[in-house]
């Protein structure tokens, strides 16, 4: 048998490297273009489906903006403050219209979220203290509070916080068990109430964030 020279061996190896690289590139290219082109020749088949746990909420109404205004103290009922509720509807001081502006302020309703996962969840809410929200102004009248409400019948089956309580900058329980199914019962609203004292310094008042957190529950 004739000995192969090192030069020939080197040439063969370089060829092997080039071929290897070429086929790798070719394979990757083909994989990217992969699509279903075939058709089953036999009809029976098995489908395996694994549904993973998903704990998820979607805050589809995330802004409550009371707009720009002032407390109309010319009305006797508005002498000390305006109490604004962003609830299933907007309520201004028992409909006494104490919060007015050069243009009509918006009439916001509450925050709203959906359990869009596949687990029942508890909902906690964390927001600013009244002093934090009003930047230390307007005490002791100034207040910001919240309550939770079934936005769809039977959404929250336990632990609904049905009366207004002040934010205290800690995580507070809004619902003990918010259902994920049926889809007509998986919606929770968070109503917001602000009490704006008359004579509050001119300026913008807002929180950096109100955080709603979901945790899976049985």
């Amino acid at each position: 048998m004739v000995d192969i020279s090192n030069r020939t061996l080197a040439l063969l190896l370089v060829t092997a490297i080039v071929v290897s690289l070429g086929f790798t590139m070719f394979s990757l290219n083909k994989i990217d273009q992969a699509s279903i082109t075939g058709r089953a020749l036999t009809q029976p088949g098995n489908v395996t489906l694994n549904i993973q746990d998903a704990t998820s909420i979607y805050l589809y109404k995330s802004l409550v903006d009371f707009g720009a205004g002032y407390v109309n103290t010319t009305k006797a009922t508005c002498a000390t403050n305006a109490t604004l509720n962003a609830s299933y509807r907007y309520i201004d001081s028992n409909d006494n219209d104490c919060w007015v502006g050069t243009t009509e302020p918006p009439r916001p309703t509450g925050l709203a979220l959906e359990n869009d996962g596949n687990r029942n969840v508890t909902i906690t809410i964390k927001g600013p203290t009244p002093a934090g929200f009003f930047q230390g102004q307007g005490a002791p009248i100034a207040n910001i509070s919240w309550k939770s409400r079934n936005n769809e019948t039977g959404s929250c089956v336990s632990g609904l916080q049905a009366t207004f309580i002040s934010f205290d900058s800690t995580a507070q329980s809004a619902c003990g068990r918010l259902l994920f199914t049926p889809s007509i019962s998986d919606d929770l609203a968070i109503d917001i109430q602000v009490i704006i004292p008359a004579g509050l310094p001119v300026g913008g008042y807002s929180n950096s964030t109100i955080e709603l957190t979901a945790a899976a529950v049985g």
Binding site: L21, I31, I57, L63, G67, P201, G203, E211
Partner: protein, 90 residues
């Protein structure tokens, strides 16, 4: 005869050293392994079921702006009315 031996020796001297061959062999094996690994990895990525990643935390915002009630009232208007009645005696 001596001339032929001399030619063979010269030819051997021109040939590549074994170390080059070893390097090329190692390179070929490494590239082959790397290529196979890349292709398998890509296939696994395509076959993997898409994972739904929901949101467990959502954020909202509340805002209001207090304005000056007298804002924009640079001028004010008033009205005085009176009525002159005929003296009943005349």
């Amino acid at each position: 005869m001596e001339e032929q031996i001399q030619q063979v020796v010269e030819k051997k001297e021109e040939d590549l050293p074994k170390s080059i061959i070893v390097i090329l062999v190692v390179l070929a094996v490494a590239i082959s392994i790397l290529g196979t690994f890349t292709v398998l990895n890509e296939i696994n990525r395509l076959n993997a079921a898409p994972v739904y990643e929901g949101n467990q935390v959502q954020s909202g915002k509340i805002s209001l702006t207090v304005i000056d009630p007298k804002e924009g009232l640079a001028t004010a208007t008033g009205k005085v009315t009176f009525e002159i009645k005929k003296n009943g005696g005349n």
